[in-house]
């Protein structure tokens, strides 16, 4: 067992973990961050995606100890970002979900994608979001929601 410190959504958090624990388990079970979903457990579905030091990674493929001293952002943490809040509203407006289980991962990933490239469209957008799977198949509503939210990421005042 060792104690690690992770900045989760802006707050410094400590957790006592085994070397072989996955970041996914620690976030959900020890730190109470439940927007991070556990589904396939093998890096395929992307529902456990978090931003680790700003980059999207799948937390079922990441050891908790690897995140020691790093910063993790999940869907909960995006609330403080005005653009990301508008992005989430856009998901609602476009009905970009059916069961909603994949929504946090899609929000986190599309926030990252739009922050880097607010002009993204077409095949590029689909490719950038290819790491997250929606079993209900609401992809087209998700693409619409993200495309519609581009204006907030281009807006310098937000």
């Amino acid at each position: 067992m060792r104690t690690i410190t992770i900045t989760v959504n802006g707050l410094s958090r400590e957790a006592t973990v085994e070397d072989n624990e996955l970041l996914l388990n620690v976030l959900r079970d020890k730190l109470g961050v439940t927007s991070v979903k556990a589904a396939c457990w093998r890096g395929e579905c992307g529902l456990c995606t978090v931003l680790l030091n700003g980059l999207p990674v799948k937390s079922c493929m990441t050891l908790a100890v690897e995140a020691d001293g790093k910063e993790v952002v999940t869907a909960e943490g995006l609330y403080s970002d005005e653009r990301a809040r508008k992005l989430q509203e856009s998901f609602v407006e476009h009905g970009a979900m059916q069961c909603g289980f994949c929504t946090p991962a899609f929000v986190v990933t599309s926030h990252y994608v739009l922050s880097r490239d607010p002009e993204i469209d077409g095949e590029d957008l689909k490719r950038e979001l290819s790491g997250v799977i929606c079993r209900c198949g609401t992809y087209y509503q998700i693409y619409d929601a993200v495309r519609d939210a581009r204006k907030y990421y281009k807006d310098k005042n937000l």
């Binding site: 070397d19 093998r42 999207p56 493929m61 050891l63 690897e66 950038e128 290819s130 790491g131 997250v132």
Partner: protein, 288 residues
């Protein structure tokens, strides 16, 4: 690979995060075959979930600066083994001088996994599905392999022995990839996936019109990629492109012995490989 095991836990191991390569190598030596190197973790973590890898020590090399460089030196382009697929695609050096690799990196897993996947990990697992190895072979890349006591350089084409088996000893790791003669070399990479996104065949091409060099590596159809150069392909630099492509594709089709498995049969893989190579050659010479 079994799909019935619950993959929620990992076996017990001790995690190490060395600051530099020599520390990592002495840890590997110290654990005498019972340690595994963790880079992106994309393969290793899943293998541990399946209990296909049971290391007593896991050595995380991701944060080691020495393994993260992409530099132009007198040997060519030198790439650290812990450079990620995302970093390869963003690098101006790779985009300009190692085109097959830049494109191959865009096929390594999905966009999120590409932030984790490393070039060293992608090739050193020794699986036929590697995108990195055919790309490196098409550029005649060599690999710097280090252990605590030794440094050796091997051609990328010598890395894989059989499926899941490489020439790397348990105390060794790939530290660097060297791509020689990259000036004026263009290239491309093509991949054909089945509906579950498993590779049927891949083709990596490198072309230098000034040096009259054309190299093709066909991957994912056998334990290790097949390599062809202009002489093996009977390429005529003053001949018609259509004729050249026809001859090359026939030669490749008749010399490869693709594997048959649950993903695809041997003959299907052969036909797909021929089509991939033909298309990639058209693309490459169309743009040259």
């Amino acid at each position: 690979m079994s799909f019935t095991t619950p993959y929620f836990t990992l076996p017990k191991f001790t995690y190490y995060k060395p600051d530099n390569v020599s520390e990592a190598l002495s840890l590997l030596k110290q654990h005498n075959g019972k340690a595994r190197v963790l880079a992106g973790g994309v393969m290793l973590v899943n293998m541990m979930k399946e209990r296909m890898a049971l290391p007593e020590a896991v050595i995380d090399i991701k944060g080691i600066g020495e393994l993260k460089g992409i530099d132009i030196t007198d040997k060519g382009v030198e790439i650290g083994s812990a450079v990620t697929a995302s970093e390869l695609q963003k690098s101006e050096i790779i985009k300009k001088r190692c085109q097959p690799l830049a494109k191959a990196a865009s096929y390594m897993g999905d966009k999120i996994l590409q932030n984790s996947v490393t070039i060293g990990g992608n090739i050193s697992i020794g699986m036929p599905s590697t995108d990195g190895l055919p790309a490196l072979m098409s550029m005649d890349a060599s690999l710097e392999v280090r252990s605590a006591d030794n440094v050796r350089t091997i051609p990328s084409s010598d890395l894989v022995v059989n499926i899941g088996r490489t020439v790397l000893r348990a105390d060794e790791m790939i530290t660097k990839i060297v791509v020689p003669h990259t000036e004026g070399v263009t290239g491309t990479y093509a991949k054909f996936l089945n509906a579950s996104e498993v590779a049927i065949s891949t083709a990596a091409l490198s072309l230098s019109l000034t040096q009259k060099k054309l190299r093709i590596a066909v991957g994912a159809i056998s334990a290790k990629p097949y390599y062809f150069d202009q002489s093996l392909l009977g390429w005529k630099w003053d001949g018609h492109l259509e004729e050249n492509i026809k001859t090359s594709v026939e030669i490749i089709g008749s010399s490869v012995k693709p594997m048959s498995d649950a993903v695809a049969g041997s003959e299907y893989r052969r036909e797909v490989s021929k089509i991939l190579v033909a298309r990639a050659l058209k693309d490459l010479f169309g743009g040259a």
